[in-house]
């Protein structure tokens, strides 16, 4: 079984996605062995109305069972307070690079504190695209890894999933912060997973494909190519995800 922590849906101004609708994408993922996952709104990176983005995402994912909508929040939109009290949002996504703030800023402090207190999980979109390939007029910086690491240390009870980190960012990101996790979508080196397991371990690594931005198969093949034993592979493929997010008990 595989649970994918890095899925998106919606429009993206710089790329056409290959799926005509969300059920088609989910059908494709299920056929590939991905039984569930966290789906965030791609549009939330730029849209001025996060509430509308989130509502659309929840509507689109109705009946999708194990594919869970992850609403986007920002410290500048007060909706996060209501979402924090809602049972619908035990995981929320943030886009600090796109929404223009630091995770160590005063504006963000109240959100982080409340999430920690209410036992919510934060999904941080470190980047959506390779910075080198961004549109020249739309250069969005990645979220600084040292700031996320510091946030994790400041709030040791806050679970943080980081998506789209590079291999070289894993060590500084996860160092001394067992409450931070990273997905494998952007992580790439020779024999990727075996190298990650050797250098980082498996406890803080989760599966993520960044579908539909990237070819799903690329991430799946990282799993298949690994020589790690089943227990280690299961922890990356789904066990860590279950432990962090506490969905998918039925799977």
């Amino acid at each position: 079984m595989i649970l994918d922590m890095n899925l998106s849906w919606g429009h993206w101004p710089f790329q056409y996605f290959g799926f005509p609708n969300l059920p088609d994408m989910i059908h494709f993922l299920e056929k590939a062995g991905i039984r569930g996952g966290l789906v965030r709104s791609a549009e939330a990176a730029f849209a001025p109305d996060l509430e509308l983005c989130n509502r659309k995402l929840f509507e689109d994912l109705k009946g999708a069972d194990a594919f869970i909508p992850v609403p986007a929040v920002s410290p500048f939109y007060s909706e996060w307070k209501a979402l924090c009290d809602s049972s619908k949002a035990s995981v929320c996504a943030i886009f600090p690079g796109y929404h223009g703030y630091s995770v160590l800023s005063d504006e963000f402090a109240a959100l982080a504190e409340t999430f920690e207190k209410k036992n919510r999980t934060l999904l941080i979109v470190v980047r959506q695209e390779d910075e080198r390939a961004q549109n020249k007029l739309c250069r969005i910086p990645a979220v600084p890894i040292d700031e996320i690491n510091a946030l994790g240390k400041r709030h040791p009870g806050l679970r943080i999933i980081c998506v789209n980190c590079y291999f070289g960012e894993l060590q500084p990101l996860l160092k001394d912060t067992p409450n931070i996790f990273a997905d494998i979508a952007f992580v790439e080196t020779l024999n990727t997973l075996d190298t990650v397991i050797e250098k980082i371990g498996c406890q803080q690594i989760v599966f993520g494909s960044h579908t539909p931005f990237l070819y799903t198969e690329a991430a799946l093949r990282k799993l298949r190519d690994s020589s790690a034993d089943k227990k280690v592979m299961d922890s990356i493929a789904f066990q860590n995800a279950k432990r962090i997010v506490n969905y998918w008990i039925h799977l």
Binding site: R132, Q134, T189, L190, P212, E217, A219, R221, R224
Partner: protein, 246 residues
Amino acid sequence: MIIDFHAHNTLRETDILLQSALRNGISKVVLLGDVLRFGYYPTEAQIREINDDTIHAVKKVPDLCYGFCFLNPANDPSFMLEELDRCLQEHAIKGVKLEVSVNCRDDLLHPVMEKLQEYNLPLLHHCWYKTVGKCKDESDPSDIAYLARLFPSVKMVMAHLAGCGYRGIEDIVECPNVYVDTSGGQPVAGLVEYAVRRLGSARILFGSDAPYRDVTCQLGRICRAALDEESKDRILYRNAKDLLKS
């Protein structure tokens, strides 16, 4: 059958790279050299050392590897041509690799291009449209198209499809002597299909850029692209086979 047209033999990782290639069904690997081992502007002695390593790596497993001769066009032209001849005499070399030391619009490339024309050998040139982090003399696809038009009978491989992007594909549409390899960057969905639509599957080559990238992951962008089997076979094998034969 699969040929990886873009891999680098580095000092410590070549054996691991080749094991990974074999595990993933790759039958031949083109080794381009440890091109960044001495930085962006290697001296003549450094160029010779890099090529010696490539020749050694190819001779160690000749059934599995081809080599390309790495050159720096800023070096003395007579050295460059002697080095190419030296590598060719070793029978291990199938083309020339250029990196970022000189932009490919520069006349300094002409001696090597003339030699490639004479020997009917391909050039594989690093290429990228970079929003950030561009090196001073790094070539982009418009530069590759410029050079390709000057030397229309030299077959050129524009490296790094994901780095060149949609605009890079457009730049070479009207340069039939330019191929593109699929290596580089993240496996961005839809780009391979777009390249096939605009260039045709006969001008696209699979490349991994290992060991900087993961062979299996890079294969993923071809294996599950929305392409017919004929196109995939061309990209993964036949185009490279034809190009290396010529």
